[in-house]
């Protein structure tokens, strides 16, 4: 069966243009240990270790990592979860 992917892609783009949502960002700090941050990403987002480490290293090397792009409530939920582990996480509107 052939899936009409281009149509779905266009709809997704239209939806994103109407509501770009919020970026969930984790910011670097010198206190949270690298393996701890990896563990938190695995727990909160259900990522495998490799993906969690990629984002952890992005935080460490680039100062921040966008870990999700969601509507208000879901982004708020992720910020609550991440802050419950004392990571510096915020939700921001895309530039």
């Amino acid at each position: 069966m052939v899936v009409p992917a281009p149509t779905i892609g266009e709809k997704t783009k239209e939806k994103e243009a109407q509501d770009p949502g919020f970026l969930v960002i984790v910011w670097n700090d010198p206190v949270n240990l690298m393996d701890y941050v990896t563990h938190v990403f695995m727990k909160v987002f259900g990522w495998n270790k490799s993906k969690a480490e990629t984002h952890m290293l992005e935080v460490h090397q680039q100062g921040k990592s966008v870990v999700a792009r969601e509507g208000f409530e879901k982004a708020e939920y992720y910020v609550h979860r991440l802050q419950s582990y004392h990571l510096q996480a915020t939700m921001e509107k895309p530039a």
Partner: protein, 165 residues
């Protein structure tokens, strides 16, 4: 503190009596942080006002829940089993997550009380007031327990044990 058994998410650690006393002493500092600084966004926007209040409330509730858990499971000894001259600490998956959050709250809280130094290795001994030394100790020791716990939960034996992200 050493991992003895790992069965699914259930973890059993062995601690000497001295390690148990140290861990319980560290945990007695919980909570170390004020929750009033919690912010949902760096952007000043009226849409976040209600959500910020909700976040502060949620963190207070979470802190209260963790304090209760700590008293029931670790301070009063429900998770501890004597084993020869030492102790066994038995944690299920949820207990391990809670212990990790408590330890990190103390670690981050100590860092905040130290003035949130950017470079933890650059502190000269002369610059460290005697009064602040316990906070450095709290950070270091909670970090050590955190690493043992994280590696046990991940199912591996090591990693970047002392680096910060």
């Amino acid at each position: 503190m050493k991992l003895l058994e790992r069965e699914g998410e259930r973890l059993v650690f062995r601690l000497s009596t001295r390690e148990k006393q140290l861990l319980q002493r560290l945990l007695s500092f919980y909570p170390l942080q004020s929750e009033s600084h919690a912010k949902l966004s760096k952007t000043a926007d009226a849409r976040f006002d209600d959500a910020n209040e909700l976040l502060v409330e949620a963190r207070k509730e979470h802190q209260s829940e963790l304090s209760g858990w700590l008293a029931r499971r670790l301070s009063e000894g429900a998770a501890w089993v004597t084993a020869g001259t030492g102790w066994r600490l038995v944690l299920d998956g949820a207990d391990a997550e809670r212990l990790l959050q408590v330890l990190n709250e103390i670690r981050v809280g100590a860092w905040l009380k130290l003035g949130s130094p950017e470079n933890l290795d650059a502190v000269e001994p002369d610059d460290t007031a005697v009064a602040l030394a316990p906070l450095h100790g709290l950070m270091m020791l909670t970090g050590q327990f955190e690493m043992v716990l994280v590696h046990a939960m991940m199912g591996d034996s090591g990693g970047r044990s002392s680096d910060e992200a």
